[in-house]
Amino acid sequence: MITIPYLTALTTLFSYGLLFAFGQIRDLFRKLFDWSSSKNLQGYAPICLGLEDFYIRRLYLRIQDCFGRPIASPPDAWIDVVERYSNDNNKTLLRTAKTSKCLNLGSYNYLGFAAADEYCTPRVIEALRRFSPSTCGARVDGGTTVLHTELEELVAKFVGKPAAVVLGMGYVTNSAIIPALIGKGGLIISDSLNHNSIINGARGSGATVRVFQHNMPSHLEEVLREQIAEGQPRTHRPWKKIIVLVEGIYSMEGELCKLPEITAVCKKYKAYTYLDEAHSIGAIGKTGRGVCEQLGVDTADVDIMMGTFTKSFGSCGGYIAGSKELIQYLKYSCPAHLYATSMSPPAVQQVISAVKVVLGEDGSNRGAQKLARIRENSNFFRSELQKMGFEVLGDNDSPIMPIMLYNPAKIPAFSRECLRQNVAVVMAAFPATPLLLARARICISASHTREDLVKGLEVISRVGDLIGIKYFPVEHQKHQDAGRKKLE
């Protein structure tokens, strides 16, 4: 867990308080102006209530240019960021025709498949010519092509489970599968920092949802014991089943899940484990097989493994892998499989080719090179950042590294200054993170070369000095003092 230094917490709260106060004063003036001018709603309630978008109108709009920056090139290691300008104080942003080439430290491109690839793209274009961009039908009604069945077998083989089913979007995979597995009378225990799609799926299922503290197997055990002993709320009947939802890598913290302990606890208490490997499949593990390979967990211990193809394989879509009967049942009952348009065939071919490259079945060792490179890059970048004195989160080997900023004014400062020096970074603030813990998030890719990373480090170090986010300069000082003593 992140412990925020005392002084920083005070200054951050003060900044937010000031922004809040200003926002309220401006709202007051707005109300006065609107009172005098007539409104033409005529008996309808406003479509967006004032309280809901207070944060958006008064805080977010000031720094809107740091988010949603359009690019005019593929999301590779270097991107062309389109410049935007605003005439009305950031309320609307207009595109210009100018672009600036920046180092991309923000896209999820872990294995470097984002741009046109020499093995994948010709095959994708062939699939496009054969099957056209869409099948216009649900999987059960003429939307299944030979590519889909091939991909499902390949995914099952890659992940290490008997069977898999593929859906067109990662978000929908979670939202539509969890309700099919559990309903009213069941219990879902999910990690407190789970992704929004998992929370939506859990809510949509109708089961009771309980939360355990982030990545603490001991607290999970406590919650399990208490819940099994008590039973369903009010009736105290025993629960029908219990599913525990965890993620492989948490995208805002960059840390790996403590999978061996969690699966041990789940096995002991007969709960089912659901692992969401959206960020970890393809990026972690010696052969890219995800968090199970990295931490040495047998895939048979995890009941349902879910993942997406957006991050490491440069495509779109999600999959679920499990036992043969489970997949058959999901194909029969999951609404996303029965009603939603099936995954676009060129995207399917991209995943097939990318997995073949990673497994080395394309005849070269590019896959192994990519996997080694992303591990090297992540470890190098993280250790350098830590040496410079930044507060970096995340475990070793994880390609995601958030740098803590805390103060709301530092968010636009860091983002704009880095952009001026041609480095594109991503900011994460409320509501994606807790209010006081704003951060900049770096995503490393296998297509970054050593020079790119060194340039990125230089720029970040300079900007960090300017803004004052090097919260831990202790090691550096100690080494300097020790060096000076040795000289004397």
């Binding site: 005529q42 008996g43 309808y44 479509i47 209530l49 978008d53 977010y60 988010f67 949603g68 359009p70 593929p74 999301p75 923000g106 896209s107 498949f113 046109a116 793209t121 274009i125 099957f131 056209s132 961009p133 869409s134 099948t135 216009c136 059960v140 009604d141 003429g142 939307g143 092509t145 030979v146 889909h148 069945t149 979007m169 990662g170 978000y171 929908v172 939202s175 539509a176 309700p179 099919a180 992704h195 799609s197 099994i228 029908k240 089943k241 089912y272 957006t310 394989f313 495509s315 779109c316 058959q328 194909k331 009952s333 609404p335 996303a336 009603y339 348009t341 676009s344 060129p346 991503v426």
Partner: protein, 476 residues
């Protein structure tokens, strides 16, 4: 004897306070007794009531309970009906496709304008693939916004005549992200009973109070509007919506938009319209239901559509006033927390709209095809067509329902399989998920395309006639 004791007691009581006079009131001994009684009553009132002592479970007892507990299996046992084989296509899902090496006439893809396999689309996709690769590698706010997305949004808005639009990366997630962004707990939503699962899920996630009216029945809608407006008088902060589909996926009916707009203006509701199956189909230039009924598009508050139907690409969009679209960019979960649409699909959508604008004859061809199919299907034994004559989804249901949804579906699937095996025509039966709460009858769905030729339609109707006779005869 008693009198004297009483006198003696009185003396004893009065003695201490014999000369006490407070505020002109002579205090007697009985006041002392009364004060004591009041004190006792107050003391008793403040005592805690008797509760049986709580005994929390010991660790050993919890261990035993955990040992005893047996969970259900993760999925119910696999029955035979769960093991159906889906047809696997070996070529593009156009009007003709290849299954198992045989060429088959395809009525199961919602390819209304016949744009699957169109040269211009494939060309624009190829350029986009070579330029951008396949995926967009990030959500819209983190460098996932590629200029192809922004161009697509402006193109759609220009085509429909609205100020702005917003793109989603998957068709079904459009509606179940839009509804929770605008309907919160406490709001009132009135929806049709026959809406598809995406809308039902969106309504469930929004936690608002939902009322359903009978499928496509305007009288029922008016009754519910009347009832709801009468009950909820405090309408200042309440938002009220009517959710309908333009062409219903579960029955092929078309919602009468002019009546709905009249009702909405009378009762002050907002309309959310799902135009997935009518965008690019209805109206003289394909602009959808509003053009078909001659309603100005500003009167509909929120329009959503999935692009996996007429536009032959993937993804979805939502359009409306500037406020509506801007609000979704930060509060719609399927937009904020999910990766963006692959850029080649966005450029394919732009090309599809261009093709539609240049060739409005596709729309007339589609209408002719639907009319021809209706004529051919008018005398199929055992099945009747219940969809609207203008809808591109031709929906047939059993004349004599077999009793339950499963039995109906079994019969229809037999018919569909027979038609595929014997006559090489691919149809779709309306399978339903276990999570779907819709209660409309099962049926066979035929998606008519502008790319079907007259002979295709004739073949399909003949094949269906033969299969229906065969199967229903065997069943009886």
């Amino acid at each position: 004897m008693t009198n004297s004791t009483l006198d003696w007691l009185e003396l004893a009581f009065d003695a201490p306070l014999a000369r006490a006079v407070v505020f002109g009131v002579h205090i007697g001994g009985h006041l002392v007794v009364e004060v004591l009684l009041v004190a006792v009553i107050i003391f008793l009132l403040f005592q805690k009531s008797y509760k049986p002592p709580k005994r929390p479970l010991t660790e050993k007892e919890i261990d035993e309970l955990c040992e005893e507990w047996v969970p259900e299996s993760l999925h119910p046992p696999i029955t035979e009906k769960m093991q159906y084989e889906t047809p696997i296509l070996e070529s593009a899902a156009g009007p003709h496709t290849v299954i198992d090496g045989k060429e088959v006439v395809n009525f199961a893809s919602a390819n209304y304008l016949g744009l699957v396999g169109h040269d211009k689309l494939i060309e624009s996709c190829t350029t986009a693939l070579e330029k951008y690769g396949v995926g967009s590698c990030g959500p819209r706010s983190f460098y996932g916004t590629i200029d192809a997305h922004l161009d697509c949004e402006t193109r759609i808005a220009k085509f429909l005549g609205t100020p702005d639009s917003i793109l989603y990366s998957y068709g079904i997630s459009t509606i179940f992200s839009v509804i929770p962004a605008f309907c919160k707990k406490g709001d009132v939503v009135i929806a049709d009973k026959g809406v598809h699962w995406g809308i039902q899920n969106g309504l469930y996630l929004s936690r608002s109070s939902v009322f359903y009216f009978e499928h496509n029945d305007m009288q029922s809608l008016q009754n519910i509007l009347e009832k709801v407006t009468r009950e909820n008088k405090r309408a200042k902060k309440l938002r009220r919506y009517i959710v309908v589909e333009a062409v219903y996926q579960n029955s092929g009916q078309i919602a009468p938009l002019d009546v709905i707009i009249r009702l909405k203006e009378k009762y002050r509701f907002r309309v959310v319209l799902d135009e997935s199956n009518s965008f690019g189909v209805l109206g003289s230039s394909g602009r959808g239901l509003s053009e078909h009924f001659g309603v100005p598009i500003e009167k509909i508050d929120i329009i959503t559509a999935a692009m996996g139907h007429a536009l032959a690409t993937d993804g979805g969009f939502c359009t409306g006033s500037v406020r509506v679209v801007d609000h979704q960019r930060l509060s719609s979960s399927g937009y904020v927390f999910s990766a963006a649409l692959p850029p080649y699909l966005a450029s394919s959508a732009i090309t599809a709209i261009d093709v539609l604008e240049e060739h409005p004859s596709l729309l007339t061809k589609l209408q002719e095809n639907v009319a021809l199919l209706w004529k051919g299907l008018s005398d199929v034994p055992g099945l009747s067509v219940i969809s609207n004559p203008l809808s591109p989804i031709v929906f047939l249901k059993l004349k004599k329902p077999a009793g339950s949804f499963e039995k109906d579906l079994r019969l229809l699937e037999d018919i569909v399989n027979h038609v595929l095996k014997e006559d090489c025509v691919l149809l779709a039966s309306s399978k339903r998920s276990t999570l779907d709460k819709c209660s409309l009858p099962a049926g066979i769905r035929m998606f008519v395309s502008a790319g079907h030729s007259d002979s295709d339609l004739l073949k399909a109707s003949e094949a269906l006639k033969r299969a229906a006779t065969y199967v229903l005869l065997n069943h009886n």
